[in-house]
Homo-oligomer: 228 residues x 2
C-alpha cells in the first residue's frame, strides 16, 4: 500500500483572517491620507488592505491620480501607524482564531503566519491570539517583497520545511489569494476581512468560510484529519 | 406617434451611496457594542449597515446569540450616535455625488434622498452635498418602517408624485436593493459602501457603478437623457 499523502500545511494571513483589525486599518489609512491632503474614498482603501504598506501607498496615489514620492510613502506609513494606535485596544481576535491555531498545534498539523505587516505592528495581535514564541511567523522584514508577491508564503513553507505544493494559504483578501496562486498553493478564503464571497472565489479561493470558527468546524473539507 | 416614455426618477440612499460614511458608522457600532459588553466581528456589522437602527440592533443581538431588549437597543443607538460624532469632521461626499445631484436638478430629472437615518443625523451630510431645503429628503421619522422595508422609497416616490414603477433606487447595500424590489423599483448598485459587485447583482442590481462619479458618466445607460 502507498504511504498516505501528507496532511496539508496551513499558511495564515493575520489581519482580517485571524485578527479583527481590517476596518481599523482602513480608517487609519484614510486619516493618514487626509492629514497629508490626499482624499480617497474609504472603500478603495479597503480593497487595497493586505498589500505591503509601500505598494499600498503607491497604489493609493495612483487612484488619486497623483504620484506619491518615496518620501511621501514613508511619511504616509508613519502616519498610518500613529493613527492605528488609537484603535489598538479595541481590536480582538476573530471568533475561533485562537482555538483553530491551538487545535492545529495539538494535532501536529504544520502551520505558520505570514503577514505583510511589520513584526512590531503584528506583536499585539500575536499575543492576543496566544501565538507562542516557537510558532513560525513571517513578517514584512523577512522577505524582499510582501503580498501580492508570493515571497511571504514561500518563506513560510520553507520555515515549516514543507514543499510549497503541500501548503494551503488562508486569507481574507484578493492579495492573499493572488500571492497563493503565484506561490503554487491552494487558497482558502474567509469573509472576516469584509470582501464578498464571490470576489474571493473569483481570484481562486476553492473554499470560503465565514471566519476561523467556521473553518475550524469544517477542517475535514480541506483535507485535514484529526482522528489519526 | 406615442408620447415618449417618461424619464426615470431616481431615489438615492445616503450613507455609502452619496456620502462616504459607511466605515465610520461600522466602527461606531462596533465601539457602541463593545462598550455594552457585546462582542461582534466588524465585517458582520458592515453587512447590516443600511438597515434601520432598531432592526440592526436586534439583528446584531441575534448574531451574538443574545436577545437585545428594547431598552438595550435604544441605548445601543444612543452610544452609536455618540461614537459616530468623533468621525463627523473627516466625512466627505463621495466623488461626483454633489455633481450628480446638481446635474439631475438642472436637467429637471426628479430625484429624492431616502435614508434609514434620522433627520438630525443626516443634516451634516446633506449640507456637504449641497442639498437645498427644497430638495425632497425622506428620513426614518417619516415612515413606519425603514429598510429593508419599502416604505422609504414608496414615500419618496409619492413626494415626487411619480408612479413607483418609474422610480429607480440607487444604493450601496443589499438592504437598499431588497427594499427597491419590494417597492417595485429597478435597482442600481454602487460599490462605494464596500460591498462586492456580485453581492449587489445577486440581490437584483441591474447595473453596478463604482461611485456617483462613475454613474454620472454613464447616465445614458440607465435611460436618462440630458440632451432634450
Amino acid at each position: 500500500m502507498d504511504e498516505p499523502f501528507d496532511s496539508p500545511a496551513l499558511l495564515f494571513d493575520l489581519d482580517g483572517t485571524l485578527i479583527d483589525s481590517v476596518y481599523q486599518h482602513v480608517l487609519a489609512w484614510y486619516e493618514a491620507l487626509q492629514s497629508m491632503g490626499f482624499l480617497l474614498a474609504v472603500w478603495r482603501i479597503h480593497r487595497r488592505i493586505g498589500m505591503s504598506g509601500g505598494l499600498l501607498a503607491q497604489a493609493l496615489g495612483r487612484e488619486i491620480g497623483q504620484r506619491v514620492t518615496h518620501q511621501q510613502a514613508e511619511e504616509l506609513q508613519k502616519r498610518h501607524a500613529a493613527a492605528f494606535l488609537k484603535y489598538q485596544n479595541e481590536i480582538q481576535p476573530l471568533p475561533g482564531a485562537a482555538d483553530l491555531l491551538a487545535t492545529l498545534r495539538e494535532a501536529g498539523i504544520p502551520w505558520a503566519i505570514a503577514t505583510s505587516g511589520r513584526r512590531e505592528a503584528a506583536a499585539p495581535a500575536l499575543e492576543k491570539l496566544g501565538v507562542l514564541s516557537a510558532d513560525p511567523v513571517i513578517t514584512r522584514q523577512e522577505v524582499h517583497r510582501a503580498k501580492p508577491d508570493p515571497d511571504l508564503f514561500l518563506a513560510a513553507a520553507k520555515r515549516l520545511r514543507v514543499p510549497v505544493s503541500r501548503a494551503m494559504v488562508v486569507g481574507d483578501s484578493v492579495w492573499d489569494l493572488l500571492a497563493a496562486r503565484r506561490a503554487g498553493c491552494l487558497g482558502v478564503g474567509v469573509l472576516s476581512g469584509g470582501y464578498g464571497r464571490e470576489e474571493l472565489q473569483q481570484v481562486g479561493a476553492y473554499r470560503v468560510y465565514q471566519d476561523p470558527a467556521d473553518m475550524l468546524a469544517h477542517l475535514d473539507e480541506i483535507g485535514i484529519r484529526r482522528d489519526e
